[in-house]
Structures are given as structure tokens and as C-alpha cells.
Symmetry: C2
Subunit: 190 residues, 2 copies
């Protein structure tokens, strides 16, 4: 099961390479050639799989969505307590601090870049924010905060984005740790 044909595997390889390159160098900062080289393909061959660079980004966003959906499902499975589930979100941040300090938040930096000049693509990548927004809001509902659930979800998302951004700008993992501790306190006191 889960067997991929050769073409499917090549396609999956391209998307995985592109995701990492987009994360490390940005969408605009990643050339078609860079993706081709990283994938071990030959120059013109990539066009057999993707017509345009924008198509690759769409596939990268879908891969992100699938991965994060699986992660959220895992958090829900691991614990029934809504506060523990919210803490799992914060744990993700501290657990990924090394890459966050180096490259920033994969969702935030992507959206931020695309929002400037590629509003069509930004709309697609905003689905990643929506995924977390809705999941977090559902947890706040579980806590009985139905009225303010969405506002609380956006607040927490914003806090997380701010932390990731400052930690990225100053390349400071200690700051990230200190700030996530405050987030944990905030959740505990809800």
C-alpha cells in the first residue's frame, strides 16, 4: 500500500524539495533551476510535472496542509483536555525553535512575502492560517469561550507570529523560550 508510481514519486520529490527551498530562501528567492538541481532532475524535465512555478507553490501549500492536518489530529488524539491541546500548539513552537530562529515561521514568512505582491497566491497560502485559526477556535469553544473563541484564536496566532518574527530577526532562541513560557502561563490562566 501507499505505493507510488515512478512519476508520482518524482512529483512528490519535487514538491518536498520546493517546500524546503521556499522555506529557506523564500518563494521569489527560489529559482526554477534551484528546484531542478535539488530534485536531481534535468533542466527541462520539471515542466512535465508542473507547468509553472505558481503550480509548484500550490502543491507545496497542499503538502503543508496535509502535514499540519495530521499534526492537529495527533494533538487531539493525544489529550482530551482543551488546555493541553492548546499547550501542544505552544510546544510545537519551542520544539521547532532551531529552524524558527533560522528561517522564521514557514506559514508566516510565506504569507508575508506573498501578501506584498502576489495576492492571488497569498489567498491560497492563507488556508494554512485558517487551518490553525479554526482548530484553535474550536479549543477555546471547548473551554466554554464560544463568543470570543475566534478572537482568542487570532490573538494566540498573533502572539505566536510575533514571537517567531522577533526570534528570527534577532536569531535568538532564548527570547523564543522566554516568550513561549508566557504563552503557557496565559493558557493556564484562561
Amino acid at each position: 500500500m501507499n505505493a507510488l508510481s515512478k512519476g508520482e514519486k518524482t512529483r512528490a520529490d519535487i514538491v518536498e524539495c520546493a517546500r524546503q527551498l521556499f522555506y529557506e530562501h523564500g518563494y521569489d528567492g527560489t529559482s526554477f533551476s534551484a528546484i531542478v538541481e535539488a530534485s536531481g532532475l534535468v533542466r527541462g524535465n520539471i515542466y512535465h510535472y508542473f507547468k509553472t512555478k505558481d503550480d509548484i507553490l500550490q502543491a507545496v501549500i497542499e503538502l503543508h496542509l496535509a502535514d499540519y492536518r495530521a499534526l492537529l489530529a495527533q494533538w487531539e488524539k493525544a489529550d482530551d483536555d482543551p488546555k493541553m491541546r492548546l499547550l501542544a500548539f505552544v510546544e510545537m513552537i519551542t520544539g521547532r525553535k532551531t529552524e524558527l530562529v533560522k528561517y522564521g515561521c514557514p506559514i508566516g514568512t510565506l504569507n508575508s512575502e506573498l501578501a506584498k505582491d502576489r495576492r492571488d497566491l497569498q489567498q491560497a497560502s492563507r488556508a494554512l492560517f485558517d487551518l490553525f485559526r479554526d482548530w484553535l477556535a474550536a479549543r477555546f469553544c471547548e473551554l466554554g469561550k464560544n463568543e470570543e473563541a475566534d478572537a482568542l484564536a487570532l490573538h494566540l496566532l498573533g502572539r505566536a507570529q510575533g514571537i517567531a518574527m522577533i526570534a528570527h530577526v534577532y536569531r535568538d532562541a532564548k527570547l523564543l523560550r522566554r516568550e513561549t513560557d508566557q504563552l503557557r502561563d496565559w493558557i493556564s490562566q484562561l
Copy 2:
């Protein structure tokens, strides 16, 4: 006084146009040609004033620095109370909400973009963060929070960045207003 020679005025025009273009479309998203056109110059002429695009960015950063230094001085002059001075920082965010929702924070989005692939330039643009970081920390010192002044400054900067980012991603001015109200409360209760 303050008279600019023709060359100096042309140079200042280029920098002002570049600043706006970098803000609206990003550094990488702004071509040399775009700056030339916006400045009303002729194609090759811009190289008389700036050897490289990176040089233009340096000048843009310095323009930003000068403007923000003047703004901070104005806030200090307007009120002696440290809390009121901190509130002036928050007022800036709400006062600029239209452009923040449209293009994000000029400092944050610039740093975020450059941090990905142009670490040399990011280091220069980080001076803009340092300017606010040091100024905010000085205000927390005035409040007697000497030990935690820098941590509080970075916390406030992060909160502001997170708010700007989410408001930008969702193009939502109401969210920005709601979140800055919370920042105001946070400052009042210090």
C-alpha cells in the same frame, strides 16, 4: 536653509520613491526599472547616484532611521509620563492601520524578507528594530523595571509585530483595533 542642490534633490527623490516601492512590493519585488520610472528619471541615469540596488536600500534604511528618530523625539517631548510615551507607540500602530493592513509593518516585512536570503542587508535593517527596542526599554526603565526592561521591550515589539502580521494576512483593521486595545490595557496595568 535646507536648500538642496539639484543633484541632492534628485538623490532624495530616488530614495523616497524606493522607500515606498520597497514597502509596497518588497525589496526583491522592486526592480531598478520601477525605481527609475517612479523617480521620473532616464534608465541609465540612476547609476550616477547609486552604484547598486543594495546601496539604495542602505539609503532607504537611513531615511527610515532619521524619520523614526524624529518621531521618538516628538513622543518624548509631548509627554513626560513613561506610560503615556509607551501608549504613543501603540497609537502609531492604530494611526497607521490602513497602510499596515495593506502592506504590513514597514520594518517587520523588510527584515523578514531580508533575513531569508540577504543576511548582510538584514543586519543593516535590524538597526530599525534596535531603535525601537532601545527606546522602549528606556521607557520601561523609567517605570522602574530596570531588570526586565529589555525583555519587556522585545515583548512589546513582538506583540506589535504579531498584530501587524495577522492584520496584514487577513486585511482586517478591526482585528488590529481589538488587539491594540489589549496592548493599551497591558501598558496601563504595568
